[in-house]
């Protein structure tokens, strides 16, 4: 009798890449739901657009590269990329924005670098940066949170706005952003930045309606939802604690120092943690295994770098939110970090500087 030969180990943990990716997507659901509640159903349409684009682009390039299309599509990595980009884009942004961004993320940032596992940059963030630099206006046209909106928007309005730039009632995106006084409302981070640059103190700026409890109206809840999702990922051991802790800790630490030194010109650390894309970035973006550091020490450094860069760009840079840039800059340093943070192998002496 002849038997099948296999190499050891013969036992395998039943947790595949595809399952990991599905868990990531699942963990993002609360955040997306809260986002849809506060910032409109547009996010769901964006999500749909992004996923379709991502799968089509991925399939096309995989076919061109002569890979097993179905097997690779089913690893769900394209799905996660699409999801992360879709939630990062303003809910009512024109449809082509997310299509261009997703196509760029999948084709250029991911597949042209060699496909899953070989991309230097986080595809979603690289695409976000491309869109932000190329199309700054639509990319920053966030609607105020639902309680502040003058017109209530139905799902149909979301479809109309995204595909025609006008809601079904005929309002343009800039009209939708206006408050009762006809003034466009920016995001809390943007508002704060503008006000500080005009000589307002933080406290004065915070009195504006876009701010709510602890941070921006609606944004706090969105961040909280992503934090919950992140904790779920940690609990599921899909991600390790080092990167998110380092990101949040570093952001908190830097903003705490700045806030203690000058509370009038700096936002509070908690405001920083619950504003913008902080929680999404810390748990879902910075933890992208492909573009993050892989060593234990390296993950701490990588996370701290992201948090620090985010603080610096938010406080002193030209863009109100900063995580896309912070993550990309940190991605660039990963090979170096990995090289210099190799763990000490059993039985070997510490390699000194290394």
């Amino acid at each position: 009798m002849s038997f099948k030969i296999a190499s050891s180990p013969h036992q395998h943990i039943q947790k595949t890449t595809a399952q990991l990716m599905k868990l990531v997507a699942l963990a993002a659901v609360p955040g997306i739901a809260v986002q849809a509640y506060f910032f409109g159903y547009g996010v769901l349409i964006q999500l749909l657009l992004a996923i379709i684009t991502a799968l089509l682009c991925e399939a096309a390039v995989l076919a061109l590269r002569g890979k097993k299309v179905k097997a690779k599509l089913l690893d769900h990595s394209a799905l996660v990329t699409a999801l992360l980009l879709a939630v990062a884009i303003p809910s009512y942004a024109p449809w082509w924005l997310v299509v261009i961004g997703t196509a760029f993320a999948i084709i250029v940032v991911k597949q042209l670098y060699g496909g899953l596992g070989n991309n230097l940059f986080n595809p979603a963030m690289a695409a976000y940066v491309l869109l932000l630099v190329s199309f700054p206006l639509p990319m920053t046209s966030w609607l105020p949170a639902a309680p502040l909106q003058q017109q209530s928007l139905s799902p149909a309005d979301a479809v109309c706005t995204i595909f025609t730039n006008f809601s079904c009632s005929g309002y343009s995106i800039s009209q939708l952003r206006q408050d009762a006084d006809g003034i466009s409302m920016a995001t809390p981070l943007d508002t704060l930045k503008t006000d500080l640059s005009q000589g307002y103190t933080t406290e004065e700026s915070m009195k504006k309606p876009v701010f709510g409890w602890l941070s921006g109206e609606g944004w706090f809840w969105v961040n909280l939802a992503y934090l919950l999702g992140g904790l779920f990922l940690l609990q599921q051991k899909v991600i390790q604690w080092r990167i998110p802790v380092a990101v949040l800790g570093s952001l908190f630490g830097f903003s705490l120092i700045a806030w203690l030194l000058s509370p009038d010109t700096n936002a509070s650390p908690l405001f920083q943690l619950f504003s913008g894309a902080t929680m999404l970035a810390a748990f879902f973006i910075a933890t992208d295994p492909v573009s993050a550091s892989t060593t234990e020490k390296g993950r701490l450094i990588f996370g701290a770098l992201i948090g620090g860069l985010a603080f610096v760009i938010r406080s002193y840079g030209g863009y109100p939110d900063a995580f896309a840039f912070a993550v990309m800059l940190a991605n660039m340093t990963v090979p170096l970090i990995d090289y210099y943070t190799q763990p000490r192998t059993y039985g070997h002496k510490s390699k000194g500087a290394r």
Binding site: T16, T17, A71, P289, Y346
Partner: protein, 753 residues
Amino acid sequence: MPTLFQQIQAGKVWDFHGGIHPPSRKERTNQKPVALLDIPDRLYIPLRQHIGVAGKVLVKVGDRVLKGQALTQAENAMAVPVHAPTSGMVLAIDLHTSTHPSSLAEPTLVLAPDGMDEWRPRKPLDPEQVDVYTLLERIQESGISGMGGAGFPTHIKVNVKQPVDYLIINAVECEPYITADDMLMQERASDIIAGIEILVKLLSPKAVLIGIEDDKPIAAASLKAAIGQKDNYFVREVPTKYPSGGEKQLIQLLTNKEVPAGRRPLDIGIVMQNVGTAFAIAQAVLDDIPLIHRVVTVAGETLAQQQNVLALIGTPISDLLNACGFQAEPQQRIIIGGPMMGFAIADWSVPVVKTTNCVLAPTENELGAASDEMDCIRCGACADACPASLLPQQLLWYSKAKDQDKLAEYNLSDCIECGACAYVCPSEIPLVHYYRVAKADIRETQREALKAEQAKARFDARTERLEREKQERLERNQQLAAQRVAQQQASGQATQSAAAVQQALERTQQQSGQSLDKEQIIAERERKKAEALAYQQQKQQAQIATPAEDQAPGTAEDPRKAAIAAALARAKAKKQAEAQPEAVEQTAPAEIAPDMDAKKAAVAAAIARAKAKKQAEAQPEAVEQPTPADTAVPEVDAKKAAVAAAIARAKAKKLAEAQPEAVEQSVPAEIAPPEVDAKKAAVAAAIARAKAKKLAEQAEAPLQTEAKATTERALPPERQEPATTPEQDAKKAAIAAAIARAKAKKQQNSEPL
């Protein structure tokens, strides 16, 4: 701060990096007693079951062996014998598939048990009464090698010169499924402790640490009970985590020490033995039972009865499985060892060997076969799991790139192939397999490098040897040359020329110091040549005088004879033609004309014919010219003489081609005196000699043939004479005789040469 020993005494257990928690599935077999199997029909006993070399076979096909009888004998330290697990007959000693991942065939003894299970005489030892060497000898003779996995000969591992701080007994058994050691401890704890006591006698450690995973409470309790109140025996329960049973990991767990890379545990004062080995030692020493059986866990959901069995070494795996109710499924895998580090076998006729602790026959559902390998997403789960703190994802990258330098930098050699990385990999990359291939490549490269190095060393050694031999030859030659000089001087025979040669030799030696032999030979040859030349000249001078005297009494006054001689001389003068053709042609006819009469001419013609004949031997074409002259001989007139002269000329010309110098030397003398007298004849004779000599040199023929030819040359004129001029017989004969004499003499002269 308490010392390490104090911490150990206090029960502290450390941790190691990484590790995984695969489902252990030990509960299936760790509550059933170890089953005994029927003696199988055939036992396949590989001659080598350990790391090292096989012993010498002591039995031959057809022999009946008794249970426990040694089948091989250790002839060197790295050898341990194998024993007959039961009594029976040796059927064959042949190649059989090995119980090894490679499945290579290896020399295996096939035993047909006779069912009597008859023991050889046994000689139990009392460890208290015998010395260490007796114990070591018994351990080796009982065929004991490490039973945990590697199979290193135990007698070497426990024969140490360095002090041992800790004897660690590995009872961890961290691989899923396997409960062989667990069951052994549950059933035979006191024997195990007895074995450990023997090890303690051999090693004298500061403490004995028994490491056992905390999922074996019964075994741990049994051991503790067997230890009783012994000092410095510590049973340490370590948390269940794979691979805490790895040697390095267990050392780290129990002592917080790391074995430095490339070193052995002994270098940090630690010796580790498997609990099964301790049991085998106890059996060997106390009961004189060599290593002929072992406990094997037989598990997997394809079996009706998953259990531990006491299997004889050499039992085919098929027997084990069938005894446990094996039902194969399609794509069935059979794994020797655990699911993490065991190897799959294709052929289930392979036997149980000393290191076989488990046979797994899982269903597909139970241990899923590896699915398709996906891309590495650099999640780092492997690095988190690695007990050696390696970076498996980097090693994978460099393994694929075959970058051996980087693999070395990332310490591939420290990989223990535990499989934790591949176990956790979400992309199902067979990491360990990649590393095995890379390690094999590196070994191959190292072998190549070693071979290249050896080849270079060989080449260098050869070059050096050739140079040395050359120098030796040179020195020897110089010595020999010096000896020769000394000998010559000593015997007083050193001639001037020899001295000159010696000087010349020395000069050349100084100049080049090489090709001495050759130059010596050349110089020697030159010297001999010079001697020969001198001798020849002396002889010639002597001969010039002698023939003249000889001929004087019989022929001197005869003008006719003189005329003949003159004719000869003329003919020879023609030889000069090459150098001075005009002069010869002018003089020769003038000389011939005045003295020409019939008889003389006839004689000359006869001589010329004889010579022509001789030449014909060398050059057949030339014969055609002389022939007409021969036929014309009866008509004795001036024309004939002219013809003869012409023939002679032709002959001379031909000769001249070979050696013009000799002719030149003698010819002027001939031409100078126009008068026909005795002197001329003498000169002519000399010329003839020279010519003959020249011919001899040319032909390089043996002297006898030359002599014969000479006689022949002399004879023809006599035979032809009756036809021509009968009345001149006596005179002609005399002339011919003179010529013949001269030629004979000349040949004699050439002999010494």
